[in-house]
Symmetry: C2
Subunit: 291 residues, 2 copies
DNA sequence: CGGGTCTTTGATTAGGTTCAATAAGAGTGG
DNA sequence: CCACTCTTATTGAACCTAATCAAAGACCCG
């Protein structure tokens, strides 16, 4: 599973000698490396003060779509930071079902769940070609001890992840299917914008099935939500290509307004009810229900 | 809101002089204090090595049912450790709806979500009389710098919380209402057992509404699940008093087996269908479906 | 071009919510 | 101590959302 790649190079990480800068990271010995400042930038950590630790480099590793970065139960040694590309992390329950937990992308730290039991509790899989920075956890915390603001940042990033999961729990616990899909699109849009891409026009890197798993829905429901949003002009959707047309409506959407197809459905139900002598539905919803 | 209690004493935390040991913690100046070793024990951290920092004491504070330990948006300074009693933490969304995130009890650390934005992202409320240890975050991390195993433990505890949220997300995303309620009872049972109480017989400290909020269900669904489990002999339930009768079945439960009331329901549906000329249902489920 | 995966859409059904009514406690104050 | 109220819990009935089942179309890659 290409994991040998990752492990064969855990050794010689500390030796100076920087060379020609490239994109983000330097080449050395035919491999890409980043220093601490670049890592902090990537993690959106207010470093700045960090003295130039030229002797402190972190190796990059490339993965192709479908490859696993780590697997369930594998001994924990590293955190990973996405430099480019898209991934998913999945939880695998006792009966082997996969549940998507997150879609790490540029600037995201993942692998944190391995700290507690000293082995990963999830798996990370590349959804596209990826460039990932290896961050040996021991080294990371050691640096924290000498760089106060880095230590603060480590705690902060972990807290941020916890916050993210809390928001997720709250979404799953209280929002309708359509509202979840809408918020998913909003957060993707914002994330793309942060990364410097268009937040209005982008390609999904994951399947409907993966989105559904992430949101606690079936792939059909996700597909239908996309179609419905398309129909009422909130987005345009063609396969993986998404265009955001009304971000505000997506942000505040709670339930879907009545529409052509829904009216049709309503009518059908009404007929069925009257056929068996029940009173007609009185559930006329208001217009686009928002917060 | 009794928050003055908490803040009036943020000062003089460092001065020696231990007195008569009581339960967990010492009295000094009419207040309860704990040293680092007691705190580590409480958190289930393998300390041991920690030198006796007699000069390092942590104050306890008492809360009565209904009192808030911290509120949304309040500046973050402290983590809290439950010494006794029961609490809930709730997320409050844009429209003011509460969502229960956790039920901290003895040995649990809470307040972590405040680290990132330097203000609490949730609220913590006492469900019963509580004794809570104040853990100034600055002091905690400073101690981590000098006690390696404590630093490790801090990261570990944060990772554990993240793990807990992941399990929660997975539950909400993939389990039926009854399975969620069953697992909730199992985890409560295990938690009570860990704390030295009976895992077979206990009183719920939270309402059906709070349980429902925690599990992403309505209070009626929770109540019905309890009744159903009672009916088939998995538990006994009378108001808040729960007796666990078949832990294993609760652990592996996925859906509920057909029962008296369910058969009745089935029959009713069948009648309704035949009345409008639809084919009869063919959904005979197997016996108690387990993993 | 053909076989795979991914997506869309329709029809039906099941699981959970909602609404409503009742009951059971827990305080509170006369 | 008892009535009164407020919160909490139980249960039933109707309804509705999202899952399931099914079929067909689109896309990709060898």
């Amino acid at each position: 599973m290409s994991l040998t790649q990752v492990h064969e190079l855990n050794s010689a990480l500390a030796s100076p000698g920087v060379q020609s800068p490239v994109d983000a990271g330097w080449h050395r010995g035919g491999k890409l490396w980043s220093n601490l400042n670049e890592v902090c930038d990537l993690l959106r950590i207010p470093s700045g003060l960090v003295g130039t630790d030229a002797d402190c480099l972190f190796q990059h590793v490339q993965f192709k779509a479908g490859q696993r970065i780590y697997t369930l139960g594998q001994p924990f040694e590293m955190l990973y930071i996405v430099n480019s590309g898209f991934l998913k992390t999945v939880l695998i329950d006792e009966s082997g079902n996969e549940q998507v937990l997150s879609f790490p992308m540029k600037g995201d730290l993942f692998g944190i769940d391995g700290i507690h039991h000293r082995q990963y509790a999830s798996e990370a899989v590349a959804l596209s070609s990826c460039d990932v920075i290896l961050m040996p956890f021991k080294k990371f915390t050691a640096l924290g001890r000498t760089h106060a603001e880095l230590e603060t940042a480590i705690y902060s990033v972990m807290s941020r992840e916890l916050l993210r999961e809390q928001i997720m729990v709250s979404m799953l616990g209280s929002l309708s299917a359509e509202a979840r899909v809408a918020r998913f699109l909003v957060s993707l849009s914002e994330r793309f914008a942060e990364m410097g891409y268009s937040g209005k026009q982008f390609n999904l890197r994951m399947t409907r099935h993966e989105i559904g798993s992430y949101l606690g829905l079936t792939l059909e429901t996700v597909s239908r939500a996309f179609s419905a949003f398309n129909e009422i002009g909130l987005i345009s959707v063609e396969q993986r290509a998404i265009g955001i047309k009304d971000l505000q409506a997506l942000k505040t959407l709670r339930r879907l307004p009545p529409s052509r197809s829904r009216a049709k459905q309503e009518a059908a139900n009404a007929m069925k009810r009257s056929a068996i002598g029940l009173p007609s539905a009185s559930s006329s919803r208001g217009p686009v229900a928002v917060a």
